[in-house]
């Protein structure tokens, strides 16, 4: 029973924490805290936080392995959905505020500008993940298949980083930093696969 209580408090707390960046953005928007080009600010902020949440979500598994704190997994779905939430806002800003549903220019953009093509693809790939994030869907797909599907997040994160890298005007240090973080997170997974394979081989030889 005390354990139940702890989660009952922690989860909403993390949820509220995750809402802070957008709450701050909205507050700024209505209190003169944005630049004279607010649509650009909204685009940048939602994009930044999509990438940040992707990194945080992808850090859960490595952190869990390193710390042994298995309950971290309880936050993974929520954090993943926050990736989608911010990605959706970023996409909506582009479609609505930036281009005001001007389909012609947007289609041209997606086709002609590789960074938009990548960003758009990365976002679209998150849709099935958001849809199948429920327990019901895990059951429906089966754990193995569900897990396989959700590896799409690696593609989204990679596309997201390249999307950022290709759009900056000159100073590529920030996108490179995201790239470095992503590389570390992916290397950890690669390392784990190698180790698991070795473990399996050893077990095989022992029997």
């Amino acid at each position: 029973m005390p354990k139940f209580n702890r989660w009952w408090i922690l989860k909403p707390l993390v949820f509220l924490l995750c809402l802070c960046p957008m709450a701050l953005l909205v507050w700024n928007a209505f209190n003169g805290g944005l630049s004279p080009n607010p649509i650009d600010d909204i685009t940048d902020t939602t994009g930044d936080w999509t990438l940040r949440f992707l990194m945080i979500t992808l850090a859960i598994t490595p952190l869990r392995r390193l710390t042994g704190w298995t309950s971290l997994t309880r936050f993974r779905r929520m954090l993943g959905l926050f990736c989608f939430f911010h990605g959706f806002l970023h996409f909506t800003t582009y479609v609505w505020l930036d281009h005001y549903f001007d389909l012609r220019t947007m289609v041209e953009d997606v086709a002609k500008r590789p960074y938009i093509t990548l960003g758009f693809t990365g976002f679209v790939l998150m849709i099935p993940l958001a849809v199948t994030s429920t327990k019901k869907w895990i059951g429906r797909l089966g754990g193995k298949r569900w897990q396989k599907l959700h590896r799409l997040i690696y593609v989204t994160a990679t596309f997201g980083v390249i999307h950022y890298l290709w759009l900056v005007k000159l100073d590529i240090r920030r996108p490179l930093a995201y790239g470095a973080i992503l590389a570390v997170l992916m290397a950890f997974r690669g390392w784990n696969i190698v180790m698991a394979r070795k473990e399996k081989e050893r077990a095989y030889h022992l029997t």
């Binding site: 004279p36 080009n37 100073d171």
Partner: protein, 318 residues
Amino acid sequence: MFIKRPADIKYSEVTPESLYHNRREFLRTATATLGVAAVGTILPGCVNAATSEPVQAKPKGPYDTTEKVTPFEDITSYNNFYEFGTDKGDPAVNSKNFKPANPWMVSVEGMVKKPMKWSLTDLIKGIPVEDRIYRMRCVEAWSMVIPWNGVPLAEVIKRLEPTPAAKYIVFKTLNDPNQLPGQRDRFLLNWPYTEGLRLDEAMNPLALMATGIYGKPLPNQDGAPWRLVTPWKYGFKGCKTIATIIFTDKQPLTAWMEASPREYGFYANVNPEVDHPRWSQKTERRIGEFFRRPTLPFNGYADQVAKLYTGLDLRKNF
């Protein structure tokens, strides 16, 4: 201040301080608009009217636009001036302590009758300061309308007497990493910032050496104490805080050409037909407006400058 303006023209008459406004209003209105537009009951034309202040600049000269001027606050808080940081809000903050030397010395070099160091005061002495309300189109696809004060570049060039061999004029920003902290970052551009014009472009009456905006001395973040303004070209051509002028017979390598030759050319004329390799230049967002507006060839100054480029392939010479 060494910047003397003719007393008869006061920009404060044209644009009262009351137009200090409307960022808050902007989003509130935009949000309201979106709500209404979502149910599809509003005409796009109404929205612009609703989001904008009823400020109308009075044209004073033949080159002035009658479009709404951008508020002083926006012109001075949204700047690309990497010497003071790469975020557009940085220059306003990081240039606070910059005090342009007085007298401001300008080194005039190369193919001129007499290469020498001028004080800015002497360099523009006697040339009447003019008011010019120009559109400013950034290569990043946003734009402003700026009421500049300054002297025609042509007058300055006449005073400097370039030799007949001179074909180009080159501008360089002050090179002083102590005063311009962005210059300590070797990872960015090759400092000092370098820009240039063909001499016939520079002699065009539109080309202005600005010493102020809104009748006030040029703010640091906008390139104090003086800067180049070429309204038919993308904003980055407007070299700021100029300390060196060189006359030469060779097309100079400008800062952005050097950083990314595929994306930035020498001419950098505003051209909706030639996209930046990574984004479209067909439309722009005017600061303070919600909807994008079409970008005009030569930023709307084709009548004045198109003749400079007859026979030149503007796709190749972007």
